[in-house]
């Protein structure tokens, strides 16, 4: 054994330069893709490379980024959450519903909650959808794809029922009920930067810390890597599975509130197919759909790549049909690169 090892050490430096470059390119592919996208569209359109445009695009990233971070947690556990788009709509509508005031017939009063209370209740709604998903997957052993596909329909249906298919257009509240300020999230800026970007940053940093610095993060990576081994090592696998769906639901709820705040309206059809964009962002960011591999940084880059590509195509006047084609091509390319990166590590000798 010893001579094999020393031989490998001797010959390593020769190849290191070239290997490292390929390795770096593969590892940072989402980052390089983003740079290439920005460079190309900045060249094609003068309007693309400007601070206002970047801020607009980034506040779009916020919605997908929030969904994608929740999705990342679920995908790391080896599952998938197809319900996030519907949860986003349901939570948006639920927030809109609360803003209209809750009529308590028994007391004969209409209760207007302050905006912070509306936010908290909306997040609870997202968590509730997540608990449903989590319990179905962890305890009833329903495959994640099917369980969350069911929730996708149920949540969308409930959202439509709540509004009878209509949209809440008045979310601004009334100063006399002291429940104004719903648009703050979507419209206000801090030092010229939209609040939604701060929300995304806060969530991303928290989840990053959760994944890298806490026992939960370790539990999650091991559950996704090999649930059997994790369980025998004392990891509470079922709790982990439930928590990731809860966190994904909460992320969808935050995204729902941010989106309806940006639009100053809450519609039951918002966020249709957003779950697919979120999955795409996670995959483009280098996470493995088999679970156990992926980072917040990668996922965020993935969200940036998809949004910046789409916005660039719009700005340069490319047909929206082509946008769909390009986005699809990017996703397939990303998955191909993922399997190159993980393919040779997957099987052990």
């Amino acid at each position: 054994m010893s001579d094999v090892r020393s031989a490998s050490l001797e010959t390593k430096p020769k190849k290191a330069g070239e290997l490292n470059f390929v390795h770096l390119l593969l590892e940072g592919r989402a980052f390089f893709a983003l740079i290439v996208i920005i460079a190309i569209f900045s060249f094609l359109s003068a309007n693309y490379f400007s601070v206002p445009n970047f801020l607009i695009m980034t506040s779009q990233v916020a919605i997908f980024g929030l969904l994608a971070i929740g999705m990342l947690l679920v995908i790391l556990s080896g599952g998938i959450d197809l319900s996030v788009g519907s949860t986003l709509a349901l939570c948006g509508v639920f927030a809109g519903f609360l803003m209209q005031g809750i009529e308590l017939e028994a007391l004969g009063v209409i209760l207007y909650l302050p905006v912070w209370a509306v936010f908290i209740l909306t997040l609870c709604m997202g968590a509730l959808v997540g608990i449903l998903n989590g319990v179905l997957v962890a305890y009833f052993k329903v495959p994640a794809f099917v369980a969350t596909l069911g929730t996708l329909y149920v949540a969308r249906g409930v959202a439509l029922l709540m509004t009878n298919g209509l949209t809440f257009n008045n979310l601004s509240g009334d100063p006399s009920f002291s429940n104004t300020g719903f648009e703050w999230l979507g419209f206000n800026r801090l030092w010229g930067v939209p609040i939604s970007i701060f929300v995304l940053t806060a969530v991303a940093v928290s989840v990053h810390l959760l994944l890298t610095r806490t026992p939960f993060g370790r539990w999650l990576y091991s559950t996704g890597g090999n649930a059997n081994a994790a369980e025998l090592s004392g990891v509470p696998v079922k709790k982990v599975q439930i928590w990731v769906y809860v966190l994904s639901g909460v992320c969808a709820a935050i995204a729902g509130v941010v989106l309806s705040s940006q639009l100053t309206s809450a519609g039951p059809t918002a966020g249709t197919t957003y779950e697919l964009t979120a999955i795409a962002a996670v995959v483009v960011g280098g996470a493995s759909l088999m679970g156990g591999r992926g980072t917040v940084r990668g996922t965020l880059l993935g969200a940036f790549v998809i949004v910046f590509l789409g916005a660039g195509l719009v700005i340069t006047g490319v047909s929206s049909y082509w946008q769909t084609v390009f986005t699809g091509a990017v996703i397939v390319l990303a998955v191909m690169l993922n399997s190159i990166q993980y393919g040779n590590k997957g099987k052990s000798g």
Partner: protein, 516 residues
């Protein structure tokens, strides 16, 4: 290395009458790693040639070269006196060379018949001729004396039976040269006997067999020629008449080897007590563990010997908390733990090293270090966050304690040899500072050097007061470090030995007849 037979290097031109397939100066490199460094290897016509060597000695690489998975970097293969280049497994199969891999390559969701004819279905006038396939499958199973219905799903078969199906598939393509990589690792003694009978029949039909096994004694009973590899070099070879177990082991590891002896310590208070423990079979019919009573004291090493299906694994998994007992008590230092979760039992000091390290032991996506620290995350968590320094300290200590050979804690777990992976699984559980450790087949698929180290680690821990329970299906391992040997049979304790333990007595009690 000082071997007597090595001077007699195989002739440059193999004797065509005697040797069907020969490798000459075969070398194979993977990047900078040289797995084979110029090996000469003869496959004797109509005989069994066994390849011995530790993990990482190059056995698998050599087999992959012979079966067309890898092309050699240097050297040539000579089939029936003519040089051949085998570019793929399909090409190898057409030349009559088949390989049965160590890891089963069956589709569990399909039945036996469809697995055997997978990829080369017999076509009739109306699509696949299932009747003919079924007839041939039945004939194969009859030859193998195995009562498996061709329409049974593979996932419903025991591991041993699945291995038989794998062998049947290789036989069904009429191979002239059959390479068997650890074919008996999952077989019971009776199934091994059947396999050996099949090998004899195959020899009579002129089939040449290349056999690889970690089970040295077993391999010696079947082989006609032995070749020993070490570090990619052939260290010795010889016909059966000139060799013995000691010769093989000496050439494999380089010096005399023993698996240790029981630690001479004073046993303490009872650490683990099983009272009338019952575990239901997975199929629901009957008990896999049947009213089992067992007491293990602190500092004691207990070996549980039994055939496949004797209930060893079920008992271990029940004690560790993976399976629920149908009745009975599990006491840890006098406290009933049978209602606790796995993590609570780990915290209480009761841990299990599972049988199948790929399936239940390792997280393949994580590094060596992360795997080692997985079970003891609580020990390096302060308030909410994990502490990197504390974790590194735990990982470093574990790597030293169980002597893991890795490029460092960040190396991917898949880059380690089987023996080192097993040490990682053991080290992971030892890092939780348990008072009782259960190990289900700790030596499965690891080489004799690693085996010795594993037993040394365990004996050392027992000396410090840990109760150690391990299962094995190799009698030699019972005689190694155990104070007490328990023989299990059909979920019950069939016999118990504390002194004057002999292989014959253990095997007789397990219901196994001595094959040789």
């Amino acid at each position: 290395m000082g071997t007597d037979t090595l001077d007699d290097v195989p002739q440059a031109k193999p004797d065509v009458a005697e040797v069907v397939l020969a490798a000459r100066h075969v070398a194979k490199s993977f990047g900078a790693v040289q797995a084979l460094k110029g090996v000469n290897f003869d496959v004797h016509r109509g005989q069994v040639t066994t390849l011995f060597g530790e993990n990482g000695a190059g056995k698998s690489t050599l087999m992959k070269v012979l079966s067309g998975v890898h092309l050699p970097t240097e050297g040539e293969l000579i089939l029936d006196g003519k040089p051949v280049v085998i570019t793929s497994t399909v090409a190898a199969r057409e030349l009559g060379i088949s390989i049965i891999h160590q890891e089963l390559s069956l589709a569990p969701n399909m039945n036996v018949r469809d697995n055997i004819f997978m990829g080369r279905e017999i076509m009739g006038s109306f699509g696949v001729d299932y009747a003919e396939q079924e007839r041939q499958t039945r004939a194969l199973m009859r030859d193998l004396e195995e009562d498996i219905d061709p329409l049974t799903l593979v996932e419903d078969l025991r591991l041993g039976q699945q291995q038989i199906v794998e062998i049947a598939r290789a036989l069904s393509v009429n191979s002239r040269i059959l390479i068997m990589d650890e074919p008996t690792s999952a077989l019971s003694a009776t199934e091994v006997e059947v396999l050996f009978k099949v090998i004899h029949d195959l020899k009579a039909r002129g089939v040449s067999i290349v056999y690889i096994s970690h089970h040295l004694e077993e391999a010696l009973t079947i082989t006609d020629h032995a070749v020993v590899l070490r570090d990619g070099i052939m260290t010795a070879y010889g016909p059966r008449a000139e060799i013995d177990l000691e010769w093989i082991v000496r050439n494999m590891v380089g010096d005399n080897f023993d698996l240790g002896s029981p630690p001479e310590n004073v046993l303490g208070a009872p650490a683990l007590q099983l009272e009338s423990l019952c575990v239901a079979m997975a199929s629901g019919a009957g008990n896999a563990v049947d009213h089992l009573d067992l007491t293990v004291s602190a500092g004691e090493v207990v070996c549980i010997y039994g055939l496949m299906g004797a209930g060893r694994t079920e008992m271990m998994e029940c004690v560790a908390g993976r399976l629920a007992p149908s009745s009975g008590n599990i006491l840890l230092h006098g406290q009933d733990v049978s209602k606790l979760t796995i993590s609570q039992r780990i915290a209480a000091g009761l841990v299990l090293v599972p049988e199948d390290r790929q399936r239940d032991g390792l997280v393949q996506t994580m590094s060596v270090g992360r795997n080692l620290s997985l079970a003891s995350i609580g020990n390096f968590t302060k308030s909410l966050f994990t502490n990197t320094n504390d974790e590194d300290a735990i990982i470093d200590r574990s790597i030293k304690e169980v002597t893991v050979k890795a490029e460092g804690p960040d190396a991917p777990i898949g880059s380690l040899s089987g023996g080192n992976q097993q040490k990682v699984v053991i080290g992971k559980m030892l890092a939780t500072k348990p008072s009782v450790i259960l190990l289900d087949e700790p030596s499965r698929g690891i080489d004799i050097g690693a085996k010795g180290e594993v037993f040394r680690i365990l004996a050392d821990r027992a000396n410090n007061g840990m109760a150690v329970v391990y299962t094995t299906s190799e009698v030699t391992e019972c005689l190694a470090i155990a104070h007490r040997v328990i023989v299990m049979r059909r979920g019950r304790i069939a016999a118990e030995f504390t002194q004057d333990i002999t292989k014959e007595a253990i095997m007789a009690a397990s219901g196994e007849s001595l094959a040789a």
